[in-house]
């Protein structure tokens, strides 16, 4: 099994809940798609060429400041369980990790991780340079990615077209190759049934939304990943600025929806969030989807100050550690399909109990009702 403790913060600093707007935003990601001019793209390159690409990128990265101390993974040589762990931790995409079957593994897949930044090698594009930050932090994530891109671009010859810009495997990424996404928790808009209107409006102004695990993943626990749809025709800063402005608007709508709920449906809201907490605190078997939905309720309760004895960091960690590969890793051996929901419930109980312990017994009782 791989040792994820080698990674700075286990590669999970983005869960810290330390960044701006952490009560609404879990994390911010910015990635740049880059390809090498002298090599065929992923759909046309064979094993030896992909090995050459991996070697070239690793050699170039070794000389940079941003990746010189990076922890390296050869993803296609990892066990299924380890690939799942990296995927659940958001360090590699589903595309590179092939968490279902080794048959879909991309040959010579690589991963470099240093601090808040990482590079996936031989995914859909030769390089996917990305930064993941806690909270709503587009500027911080962008500056990290831009620095890495500049360092790597001096050592590697990227495919660049005078009119189209950076060339990518899929035409949807051509131009800047930039995709910025903000993982935001919107239970207020879901409960007030405004979410569909908002999501529809966002798609009309060049934004798209996805689930917790990016492209093709489902929306669970009211967590929406909002990102830019187009990559060409606007500069990097224009794209980031546009996304940032719209996310701020969505956050304002969410805050307003929460205040309306708190004002007009206090008892129902309090019941809902404490019910979610109660189930998580005492249930003996939990499915992943149920866990995500209950965590959403508790997160809302914590955000509104209704539930005092849980921290956002613990809730963020539960998003990752209640997933199958992490439960298996914690248990030390493979779990059967029947064992997973039982282990998940046990883990959630343990974390919530520790939170009460950490935050003192005074926080144990629900706040006095009016």
């Amino acid at each position: 099994m791989i040792d994820l403790s080698l990674l700075p913060d286990g590669g999970m600093a983005w869960l810290e809940a330390s960044g701006p707007g952490s009560h609404l935003v879990v994390s911010t990601r910015v990635r740049l798609a880059r390809n090498l001019r002298s090599h065929r793209f992923a759909s046309r390159s064979d094993g030896p060429e992909r090995e050459a690409i991996l070697a070239e990128v690793e050699a170039a990265a070794a000389g940079t400041e941003g990746l010189g101390r990076a922890v390296r993974f050869r993803v296609d040589r990892l066990e299924l369980q380890d690939r799942r762990l990296l995927h659940e931790r958001h360090l590699v995409s589903r595309d590179l990790a092939a968490p279902e079957t080794a048959a879909k593994l991309r040959p010579a897949g690589g991963l470099l991780v240093q601090d808040h930044a990482s590079v996936m090698i031989n995914e859909e594009d030769h390089l996917r340079i990305q930064a993941l930050r806690s909270g709503f932090a587009l500027e911080a994530a962008w500056s990290l990615v831009a620095t890495l891109d500049a360092e790597l671009g001096q050592r590697l010859a990227f495919a660049f077209h005078p009119e189209f810009g950076y060339l990518t495997s899929c035409p949807t990424n051509v131009g800047t190759g930039l995709r910025a996404s903000v993982l935001v928790h919107l239970p207020g808009l879901v409960l007030t049934k405004e979410i569909n209107k908002i999501l529809q409006a966002l798609t009309q102004v060049g934004l798209t939304f996805r689930g917790l695990y990016g492209e093709g993943s489902e929306v669970v626990g009211n967590l929406f990943q909002l990102s830019n749809q187009t990559t060409l025709g606007k500069s990097e800063l224009e794209l980031l600025d546009h996304l940032g402005k719209l996310v701020r608007q969505v956050m304002e709508h969410e805050e307003r929806a929460r205040q309306i709920l708190l004002r007009d449906a206090t008892a129902i809201l309090e019941d809902k969030v404490w019910r979610a907490y109660g189930l998580l605190r005492y249930a003996r078997s939990l499915s992943f989807e149920e866990t995500m939905n209950l965590l959403s309720g508790v997160r809302l309760g914590v955000g509104l100050g209704l539930i005092p004895n849980v921290g956002m960091y613990a809730l963020n960690k539960l998003l990752v550690f209640t997933q199958p590969a992490h439960l298996t890793a914690a248990h030390g051996r493979g779990l059967t399909d029947e064992e997973v929901p039982v282990r998940r419930a046990a883990y959630v109980r343990q974390v919530l109990e520790e939170e009460v312990g950490r935050r003192g017994p005074s926080a144990q009782a629900p706040p006095t009702q009016r």
């Binding site: 390809n35 001019r37 090599h39 065929r40 793209f41 992923a42 759909s43 046309r44 859909e124 831009a146 891109d149 500049a150 671009g153 001096q154 590697l156 010859a157 990227f158 495919a159 660049f160 077209h161 009119e163 189209f164 810009g165 950076y166 060339l167 990518t168 495997s169 899929c170 035409p171 949807t172 051509v174 131009g175 800047t176 930039l178 879901v190 409960l191 049934k193 979410i195 569909n196 999501l199 798609t203 689930g211 093709g216 489902e218 929306v219 669970v220 009211n222 187009t230 990559t231 060409l232 025709g233 606007k234 500069s235 990097e236 800063l237 224009e238 600025d241 939905n293």
Partner: protein, 167 residues
């Protein structure tokens, strides 16, 4: 992702519903979506990439010039336009020259533009905003306005100097 209704065909429509205050998303294939009477306004066939790919070489006439164009090979990676239609992925950087016309059209549909206005790249130099030569005064002024708006002051200064030189 497989269709969550039939479990057989590939899901092409992502369906997000809000039921009893909870969000459910499902991936449906075109057939199941149609059976459920779901308006597939954003379905695969209607997305720019999906629709474009489906239409490439649609004509049944084997002598049609479009079909002949499908067999032209990229000198860089030997891929044809037909390969692109099947995978939706470009084979190498030279493909963008070899299939310039259809890819240009696709980029225009996907992004509403074919003109990259972001960082310029030259190996050995850090990527930097660059003013392109041969632009009209009007385009330069527009670029200057955008540069100021997005607080790209270095670029704005460069543009201002260029405009001044032209006067």
């Amino acid at each position: 992702m497989k269709c969550s209704h039939c479990g057989e065909r590939e899901g092409v429509v992502s369906l997000t519903q809000v039921k009893e205050g909870e969000v459910h998303t499902a991936s449906l294939c075109a057939q199941c979506a149609a059976e459920k009477g779901i308006e597939t306004g954003f379905a695969m066939a209607d997305t720019p990439l999906g629709g474009f790919l489906a239409k490439l070489g649609e004509s049944a006439d084997p002598d049609a010039p479009l079909l002949a164009a499908l067999e032209v090979r990229c000198p860089g990676c030997n891929a044809t336009l037909r390969d692109f239609r099947e995978t939706g992925r470009v084979g190498c950087s030279e493909c963008y020259q070899a299939f310039d016309a259809p890819l240009r059209e696709l980029l225009r549909r996907l992004h509403g533009s074919t003109h990259h206005t972001g960082m310029q790249y030259q190996r050995g130099e850090a990527p930097a905003p660059r003013v392109e030569p041969g632009r009209t005064d009007l385009e330069l002024k527009e670029q200057l306005r955008r540069a100021v708006e997005s607080e790209q002051f270095e670029l704005a200064a460069e543009l201002r100097d260029r405009l001044r030189d032209r006067e």
